[in-house]
């Protein structure tokens, strides 16, 4: 689209960004292939893989049986042989079915083999709630994944990062997991045409501010930006940090922001107990203890499975209002 000044920006959806990254990657490197349930001829349940099978054939865009353990195993074995598999686990909830292959096999193989194995394996999946998909199709499991040495984990919050992080993951020589938030598939943003990388382990300061820092991941980044607008109206300027990659994690950027604003709120969609917010909070207080003017706040889901009824799910999920409240609370101290 073109703005008044006539300079044209390319606006596409989160889902399209994923899809065009895959098209570019498969065109670039014949060792890259895609496998998963319904990802081939049908193009994926969310059409995220649309057109790939037509463009690259059944051999490179492979429909598999419903067998998540074998799907990840397929990726591990092929990666150990030097290919660069992209295997899809339709919903992040199904990570649980394949957990052994992911965390016991893929993540540990290199170390157990004394360094000999190299596994350029990328696992893609869709996480998060918000669609009334209930307790078994709304998972946010990033906290489990950052507890697994050998994995790299990213959670893009916008189309630009999604495309760049996916490219970086597929080109990385380690097992990586890219989680798309399924409630964001239609969200739009500016995305360059060709392939580019967003480096793993580099957080982004999404908004500068001086009164407090909000560290938000995935879909929560957008909510934090909404909250920032509201708070700005109250004269409160928050800084927003989007880690983008969760493992490796850019502690330095988060800590720098903490030292600048002295008040921090960490936001994620998963339940609070054992969530990634705990790890982020623990690191910040380890490295910026003397700079903190208030306890590090956490905004997260309460301690229950994800409810089906939208009436409950709306309340269950953290939103901009929750974030704004948490920021006000930390400032009131």
């Amino acid at each position: 689209m073109s703005d008044a000044n006539g300079d044209s920006r390319r606006i596409i959806t989160y889902n399209q960004a994923f899809n065009e990254a895959l098209h570019g990657l498969l065109a670039e490197d014949p060792d890259i292939f895609v496998a998963g349930e319904d990802v081939g001829r049908y193009g994926g349940v969310f059409q995220s893989f649309a057109g790939l099978n037509k463009a690259f054939g059944d051999e490179r865009v492979v429909d598999t049986p419903i067998a998540e353990q074998a799907i990840v195993g397929l990726g591990i074995g092929a990666a150990a042989m030097g290919l660069r598999p992209i295997v899809d686990l339709m919903f992040m909830d199904f990570v649980m079915v394949a957990m052994d292959q992911i965390a016991n096999q893929a993540a540990k193989m290199k170390y157990m083999f004394g360094g000999k194995a190299t596994l350029p394996l990328t696992i893609t999946t869709t996480g998060g709630a918000g669609l009334g998909a209930a307790a078994q199709h709304s998972a946010s499991l990033e906290a489990w994944l950052i507890h697994v040495p050998g994995l790299k984990v990213v959670f893009p919050s916008n189309p630009y990062d999604l495309k760049g992080l996916l490219v970086s993951c597929v080109r990385d020589d380690n097992p990586t997991i890219v989680t798309l938030h399924k409630a964001m598939l239609g969200s739009k943003g500016e995305v360059p045409e060709g392939l580019y990388e967003v480096p793993l382990g580099e957080a982004e300061v999404v908004r500068e501010g001086s009164d407090a820092t909000v560290v938000a991941i995935g879909r929560m980044v957008g909510f934090a930006e909404e909250a920032a607008e509201t708070l700005a109206g109250e004269g409160i300027e928050i800084e927003i940090v989007d880690p983008r990659s969760l493992l490796p994690f850019d502690t330095a950027t988060v800590v720098a922001s903490a030292k600048k604003t002295n008040r921090i709120v960490v936001v994620h969609e998963a339940v609070r107990s054992g969530g990634i917010g705990a790890e982020i909070a623990a690191r910040i207080q380890e490295e910026a203890f003397d700079y903190l003017d208030a306890p590090i706040g956490r905004v997260a889901a309460p301690f229950s499975p994800v409810p089906f009824s939208p009436a409950l799910e709306r309340e269950y999920l953290p939103d901009a209002a929750d974030i704004a409240d948490a920021v006000r609370a930390t400032l009131d101290r």
Binding site: D38, Y42, V97, A135, Q136, P302, P305, F308, S309
Partner: protein
Amino acid sequence: MATKTEAGIPKPVLLDLHRRMVRIRHLEENLGRIASEGRVPGFLHLYVGEEAVAAGGCAALRDEDQITSTHRGHGHLVAKGGDFERMMAEFMGKATGYCKGKGGSMHVSDLDLGMLGANGIVGAGVPIAVGAAFANKYRGTDLVTMAFFGDGSTNIGAFHEAANMACALGLPLVFMCENNEYAEYTARERVMAITDVADRAVAYGMPGVVVDGMDVVAVYEAAVEAVERARRGEGPSMIEAKTYRFYDHAGVQGLGRTYRSDDEVERWRARDPIELFEAQLSKARVLSKAAAKKVHDEVAAEVLEAIEFAEQSPLPDPATDLLTDVYTETGR
């Protein structure tokens, strides 16, 4: 796979089989309708076309027997005696639903009816059926558990572990496979090198039979045999019912899809299990066209009332309902 005739089956049973199928059909068609009007949140996997499997299977069970189900579970619950109002309310996320609106379509259940839940994870219901069957045997009852599952689910590990364990432990469990030839949008032959799922039974040491899943009598008779075998303590068996879903994997679109041809859909629709059975029944003078219509009308009215009930029902209240039912508070 010859089509069974109703001969030899008592009339009340035949009428019961018919009514169970009609109840499923009307619930699902109406649910699909209001869903396409945007009145039902979340995912919806309709059972239309496969009624003979749930009806024939559950008619062979006692009320105290148990079933486990899948993501496509409405038909199983109806066939086991599910209440329309509480089902519709659940699908709409209302507090009066079977699960107080916390489960929805993919987790609707009624433990009092022995329906141990629809399940969002493919194959995951089958190990749970093993546990229920184990409990029946452990307690020395002659109760039986029937696990419903799809063709695609037989490719996942949980199914395999459960089938082997049930056979190793000689449990009273009937494996009822709904082979509708597709797993979501992928055809069976592209993800399985065999044609008949029943061929998998020998891998566990149990009998396996293939039946016409559009013929409710055929399903019923196979189910009776398997259930009686289980009751006698002779262990599990597997039934594969060849069937078809008339609508899409999810939602209400039937025709015009890329992954299967309209021809194929029409061919199967021509063998609508309810129409087939009604033709048989009227030919045999068991149920006249008029009497059949009466059943449809009664059930249709009941469904509309259920929708009305659900519409009028309150939503759950986050303040009081969101964080309850996570744990059982009572100790022992």
